[in-house]
Structures are given as C-alpha cells and as structure tokens.
C-alpha cells in the first residue's frame, strides 16, 4: 500500500546518522523531525538563522522572535545558536549541512528538480530552495510519486522551471525509494505491498531495476 506523508517522513528518517546537521524543507520534510531515532543526535538548521530547531512551543508560549523558515513559531534546543542570514547560507553554500530534505513538483532522471514555480500560477519566489539544492552534500526529495491528476512527478525531463540541475541524490515517494544514477531512476526499495509494476507505471522517466527490490523496512 502506498505510504502516507508520515510514512514517507518515517522512511527518510532512516537516512539520518548521529551527528548530522539537517535542513528540512516545508511540508513532508518537516515531518521527518518526528521520526528521529531516540538517542540519535541530529541538529536541525533553519535558514532564517537558527541551528538547533526544537519542538513547537507550548500553547501561550510562542515567541514572535523565534520562528522557522516556514514562519511557524518554534523553540530552540539546548545548544542552539542564532545568526544572520549571510552566515546561515554560508553554512548551506559551504557544504556544512549533511543532508537537505525538500519537496518537489518534478524530478528528472538526471537529478534536476523543479519545485518553486508553476507558469500561469502565482509566483511566490524560490526562498532558500535554489541555494539549498545547489550546495547540499546530500539531497533527498520527499514527494508523492504522482500528482493529483495521477501524472508522474518522476520524469525524463522536468517541464516546469528548474530549481537546480543534477543535484538530487535520492527520492523517497509514497511508492518507492529511488536513487539518481547514470542510467536514470534506480529503484532501491518498494513501499510495503507495492509492486515493481505499479512503480514502473507511475514513473515516466527511465526506471532502472537491478535484481530483486526489497520492501521498505518501516
């Protein structure tokens, strides 16, 4: 069965390692924070100037001077630090973030990503997404495999304006885990109960299948 948003987040959390500094985008990526294994030290960076995002505040305790990049009120962990946007993006651009997780409208088999603009619709701006995808050491896209119309989001070529080129390393969808390799989308894992055939049908780009594909362990 296809995963829900939380399932995708849960699977992505398996990519975390002790000591990682991680930037989580808005939407599904934010949910990854809920699945950090106990005892593992993962520090979350917020590009508006916070290293060490804590849980949302208790009711009545929201601090207007303490928000995340999605403009939600948050708290800071013990050991957090605050800084200006130039230093925040120095961390990002300088490759100091171990893992970036973000959403996407489309991903191409070359690892291109489109995530910020749909022609004809309102342009909101790219925010920090272009900086993140251009510089992160490891980029995982968290997305549904198809859009609301049932069309694949994993394409031969992106049709929408790009956020970055040849940058995505891994994609975790409701149906599968896939890596970008020379051949295209390499199928790594299937969601529990989802068949390779179903994944093939939902993938417009070239799906590279090498041997038996295990089910996700979630």
């Amino acid at each position: 069965m296809a995963l829900d948003k939380n399932g995708i987040a849960q699977r992505i959390a398996q990519e975390l390692k002790d000591g990682y500094y991680v930037n989580l985008g808005i939407g599904i990526p934010t949910l990854v924070a809920n699945y950090i294994p106990d005892g593992m030290e993962v520090t979350l960076q917020s590009e508006n100037g916070l290293l060490g995002i804590g849980p949302f505040p208790e009711k009545g305790k929201a601090d207007p001077d303490l928000i995340n990049a999605g403009k939600q009120t948050v708290t800071a962990t013990s050991g957090a630090s605050f800084f200006d946007s130039a230093l925040s993006f120095a961390m990002i651009r300088g490759g100091h973030i171990d893992l970036t997780v973000l959403g996407a409208f489309e991903v191409s088999e070359k690892g291109d990503i489109a995530s910020w603009k749909i022609p004809g619709k309102l342009v909101k701006g790219m925010g920090g997404a272009m900086d993140l995808v251009a510089s992160a050491k490891n980029i995982i896209v968290a997305t549904t495999h198809t859009n609301r119309k049932g069309e694949s989001k994993l394409l031969r070529k992106c049709t929408l304006p790009l956020t970055g080129v040849a940058c995505v390393k891994r994609i975790v969808t409701d149906l599968a885990v896939l890596d970008i390799v020379e051949e295209g989308f390499k199928l790594i894992e299937r969601a529990p109960g989802v068949t390779v055939e179903e994944i093939k049908n939902a993938t417009e780009g070239f799906l590279f299948i090498d041997g038996d594909i295990p089910e996700m362990n979630i």
């Binding site: 207007p64 928000i67 999605g70 403009k71 605050f82 790219m126």
Partner: protein, 229 residues
C-alpha cells in the same frame, strides 16, 4: 556626534521618491515596524525595496505596497500577500526574485565593498539569465553583484547611543547585513541604553554601520503562523 533621533518620523528625514531602501526582517519577524509605519504615512513613492519578503496585506511592507509606494521589489519569497500578486500580475510592480542566500550575500557584499562574487545557486535556472557563468572545482557558478541602498532600516532588541546593536533570536536574519549596506542606516530598537552598557564581545552590529538610532514604540510583533505543540 549624536546619532539619536526622537522617533521614526525624524529618522526617515531625507528619504525621497525613487530611492532604494533595505528593510530588515524575515516574514514579520524582526521587521522595523516603526520605520515602516512612518514610511507608509510619508506618502513617499516610487521606492525600490530590498527585503526578503513583502509583509502581509495590512502589515509591514504590505502597507506600502497597498498604497502604491513601491516601484520595484528585490526579494526571495513574496507569498502571503494578495495585493502583491495583483500588482505583480498587472505589471504595476517590478519584481526581481533572488535565491535567499544569494540575496543575503549580495547585501553583505554591498556592505563589505565586494562588488561581485560567484555562487552556485541558480545555475541552470531562470535566475541565471544574463549572468556570467564560470566553472570552479568542477561546478558551475553565477557571478552575482553587490546590493546597497540609500537608506537601510533595521530593527534590534538592544541598541546603545553609539549605534551598537544586539538582535534577539531569529529576529536578526537580514538586519545585520542590511545595517552595513545602507548609505544611511536607521536602527530602531526595543531598548536604547547609554553607551558602555552593552558587552563589546556581544555586539552583533558595530556602531560604525548605524547613522541614526531611536527607541521604537508599540511593537505589535505579529506572528504569521502561530504553531504550538
């Protein structure tokens, strides 16, 4: 040398039609509320505003937008604002969108006397249009240029009579760099203390960058998305 001005009305003296302004803040966090109000009341127009965001419809930069005081916005994310959308789509408002880190660095560069620098962000996207591309260490980069402003407006938690500033939590964001990039920088602070009361090791923005300072009043500090446990 007195840098202290009485209030926002006095602080904005000299701002005139067609000028380029920088406005600190991320969303509504850390915005110079008093200065924005004074600018809105001034009726000054044709402004080019450099700000990460554009406020909301009835608060922050959104008010200047509503009253058609802006000619152009240089920003990275302008959602959360219907009037912005209308003016943008109708062509009344010119908009230049920058990757957020590039915007931050362009402002820092403006303050630091670095006219141009290379970054990877935006390569292969529409942001790259018209920009010089160069490869470094096997990776493609764009040449980006510095930004400065006639006036920069910033907001800090603490300030002293010499213009030294200390920000609070994530309300620092774009304020620190913008303070360095204004020909005239105006700081509004929640607490204005005599020179010597701030720890010299804790100053975020040294006073050299600040030409006018005042204690702001009536801070609303609106929250865009109050999220609780």
């Amino acid at each position: 040398m007195n840098k202290i001005v009485k209030n926002a009305e006095e602080a904005i003296i000299g701002v005139s039609n067609g000028m380029t302004l920088m406005l600190g803040g991320f969303g509504l966090c850390g915005i110079p509320e008093n200065s924005l109000k004074a600018l809105a009341e001034s009726g000054i127009k044709d402004l080019v505003c450099i700000s990460n965001n554009a406020g909301i419809d009835d608060f922050g930069l959104g008010v200047l937008l509503r009253d058609r005081q802006l000619k152009k916005m240089i920003a990275s994310y302008v959602g959360e604002n219907k009037e912005f959308e209308r003016q943008f789509l109708s062509g009344e408002l010119e908009v230049e969108l920058n990757p957020q880190g590039t915007l931050a660095e362009r402002i820092r560069a403006g303050g630091a006397g670095i006219p141009a620098f290379f970054v990877p962000a935006g390569y292969g996207t529409e942001v790259a249009q018209g920009k010089e591309v160069r490869e470094f260490n096997g990776k493609m980069h764009l040449l980006e240029t510095a930004l400065t402003a006639d006036f920069a407006f910033v907001k800090a938690k603490y300030g002293d009579y010499s213009g030294n500033l200390i920000y609070n939590n994530t309300a620092n964001n774009f304020n620190n760099m913008m303070a360095s990039a204004g020909k005239i920088t105006i700081a509004e602070v929640e607490e204005l203390v005599p020179t010597g009361e701030l720890d010299p090791n804790q100053i975020h923005t040294p006073g050299i960058f600040v030409q006018r300072i005042f204690k702001g009043t009536g801070y609303e500090k609106r929250i865009e998305f109050e999220t609780v446990r």
